[in-house]
């Protein structure tokens, strides 16, 4: 069975819907018109990525003197572009990639762990003030990030953490939406009877969480991990305001920096090729992750939708 097929079965298993109900909808006559419309739309969504891949094989001169949507006859320069990306300015791009990976992995693991424990706590315990606290968490989804990032910047600068790695990692630990997803997931995935049985056996609450709760919410945990990973990997505003040492930049801020150097044109038009190739290289890890972890993000997104 394929990955997608398994994911589908898992998902519909969770939702209590028999798989054959889904299968029944398959096997209808395909519509050529609908397929054609969707393939045209697919071209639109693929076009920029195709352009990016093609353009990363061109030197700056070729960029300006060949048709943008096809390869240039004047030579295939992908390798020299990649080499230039990795060596330009003392190899700063390598630090950027490393920083992005570090920020994304550390913050996402932290955020997902906090959300998993918190979500389990909200789903499986009744304590005074629970609904008020949860309402506050949900309401905070509406708070715009500037309203947070700006004062956080000011506060962190008071304690000397601005322009350090912590300035990115610490604020990224907050994930109210992650907590919401984990609460929903834990409510469905962890049977109360199991917790009760473990309590009767004399297990402590933390042990129950570690050995039963966390295992059962693991798929939800991976989903929240992935969503936070993507959010931190793609974050731009926070590192833009927190950092001014280029060695600490994540790849998003670094590329934007190269781009403004290229466009202000101060004799550095030569940068276009490394902005383009650097962009291509920066999206490969996430695209690969998405392709291989399809079932997790599909599970997670559908989780959000079903409960919405």
């Amino acid at each position: 069975m394929t990955l997608i097929g398994r994911a589908e079965r898992r998902l519909f298993g969770h939702l209590g819907i028999s798989h054959h109900a889904v299968e029944r909808r398959h096997g209808r006559r395909p519509s050529n018109v609908l397929t054609l419309i969707m393939l045209v739309m697919l071209v639109y969504f693929a076009l920029p990525l195709f352009w990016l891949a093609v353009s990363s094989t061109k030197s700056v001169t070729q960029l300006f003197h060949s048709f943008g949507l096809w390869f240039s006859s004047g030579g295939f320069n992908l390798v020299s572009n990649v080499h230039e990306v990795f060596t330009y300015d003392g190899g700063v791009y390598v630090s950027w990639l490393g920083n992005t990976a570090l920020y994304a992995v550390v913050s996402a693991s932290g955020a997902a762990l906090l959300a998993a424990a918190g979500g389990y706590g909200f789903a499986k315990f009744n304590f005074p003030g629970k609904s008020v606290l949860f309402a506050m968490v949900l309401g905070s989804i509406m708070v715009p990030f500037t309203a947070l990032a700006v004062p956080t910047y000011l506060l962190l600068s008071k304690i000397g953490l601005v322009n350090t790695r912590w300035a990115i990692i610490i604020p990224s630990l907050l994930s109210p939406f992650g907590l919401y997803l984990m609460r929903v997931y834990a409510a469905g995935a962890v049977p109360d009877a199991l917790i009760e049985a473990a309590r009767l056996d004399g297990a402590g609450e933390f042990r129950i969480f570690r050995s039963i709760g966390f295992r059962l919410v693991a798929p939800g945990f991976v989903t929240v991990l992935l969503l936070s990973l993507v959010a931190t990997w793609n974050n731009y505003f926070l590192p833009l305001i927190m950092l001014n040492n280029p060695r600490l930049f994540p790849v998003t801020v670094g590329l934007a920096d190269w781009n403004s150097q290229a466009t202000t044109g101060s004799g550095s038009q030569a940068l276009y090729n490394i902005v383009i190739t650097g962009s291509l290289l920066s999206i490969i890890p996430l695209i690969v992750a998405f392709l291989f972890l399809q079932r997790y993000w599909r599970n997670g997104l559908s989780l959000g939708s079903v409960t919405g």
Binding site: I4, G16, R25, P30, S31, T35, I37, M38, M41, F45, L47, P48, F64, F67, G68, A117, G118, G121, F125, F127, A135, M136, L138, G139, I141, M142, V143, F145, T146, A147, L148, V150, P151, Y153, L155, G188, E205, F206, V230, N234, Y236, F237, I241, T252, V253, L255, A256, N259, S260, S279, S282, I283, F290, L291, L301, S302, S305, V306, T307, G308
Partner: protein, 318 residues
């Protein structure tokens, strides 16, 4: 508060999760209830330190004014009054408002259409299409803006090249006349797939018994989509409108990249977030920037709350 209310009043969409939660025996949980604090404590600590404290601090400094001569003085709501009559802030807000009115319906319309097409099971290459439309979600908004910015560009953008070969000129995608639409296209490209996947998952969760009745009535695919599927997934669509609203009001990365590519068009207050950023880092007006951010948060809060109230009332009526 509000999202919770919306979720609770949302009609059940055939989810087993909901019933699982409802059938929890309440009595036994009380005994262990307060231990729940231990699990939520780490999250709450982060929540207080990274959300409540900064928000409170932001409000606090927004009540002051810092001048080179005279230092910091308490000015009450003066910064808010100034922001409300600040044409730069207001025009940015209005611009984002116009953006939302057009871009959100277009994006969600396409996402809904794609999801219905996938759900109809009458599509060839369904998996390829689903993946291809979703893939832009994995691309950072910075990279999306860079790609489209270069594609739009007059120097080596393919649209300009094609137009040139045809002996004409392409529209000035980066001119002030087209810029908002050009950014709208970037955002649509980035997020249609995400919305599509969420809607598609909701559609797949509809029990097929519901279609049998429609089939008996002789309803065709389009009729079924319109009068069975869309009403059932309405809460999901509302949630997506809500998230789009919040996200779009905070537009920053795309206009910031466009500002590097077309500086004269974007300026320093194209969107409220860009304005707040420039107030701090270009003009050093920290107190005023805090007031602007706070007002933006307030606008978002009021608008999302009214969206929820409005849709909840309609849900109750129907």
């Amino acid at each position: 508060m509000s999202v919770g209310a919306q979720i609770r009043t949302a009609p059940p969409s055939g989810s087993g999760l909901r019933t699982a939660r409802a059938s929890v025996p309440g009595g036994r949980r009380k005994k262990h209830g307060t231990k729940g604090y231990l699990f939520i404590a780490p999250f709450l600590l982060v929540f207080v330190v990274l959300l409540l404290v900064p928000l409170g601090y932001s409000f606090y400094i927004s009540l002051f004014r810092t001048q080179i001569v005279g230092g910091t003085t308490f000015v009450g709501l003066t910064n808010y009054r100034a922001a409300l009559s600040d044409t730069l802030f207001r025009s940015g807000l209005a611009r984002v408002g116009r953006f939302i009115l057009v871009q959100t319906p277009v994006m969600l319309g396409f996402a809904l259409f794609f999801a219905l097409a996938l759900d109809s099971a009458r599509l060839r290459f369904a998996r390829l299409i689903r993946l291809g439309v979703f893939l832009p979600y994995a691309v950072p908004s910075i990279v999306a803006a860079l790609m489209w910015g270069y594609l739009y560009g007059p120097s080596f953008g393919p649209f300009a090249q094609i137009a040139h070969d045809l002996g004409t000129t392409a529209p000035g995608f980066l001119s002030s006349q087209w810029m908002l639409a050009s950014i709208g296209n970037i955002v649509t490209w980035e997020f249609t797939g995400y919305n599509m996947i969420v809607i598609y998952a909701a559609l797949q969760a509809i029990p097929s018994e519901l279609y049998d009745a429609a089939a008996v009535d002789g309803a065709g695919g389009i009729r079924t989509a319109w009068s069975v599927k869309i009403p059932i997934i309405r809460p999901v669509l509302q949630l997506l409108v809500f998230f789009s609203l919040i996200g779009t009001f905070q537009l920053f990365s795309e206009p910031d990249i466009m500002a590097a590519i077309a500086p004269t068009v974007i300026g320093n207050a194209y969107t409220p977030n860009l304005y707040a950023y420039n107030l701090i880092f270009t003009d050093q007006e920290v107190n005023y920037a805090a007031a602007v951010s706070f007002l933006l948060a307030f606008v978002i809060l009021v608008l999302s709350y009214s969206v929820i109230l409005l849709t909840n009332r309609r849900n109750k009526r129907s």
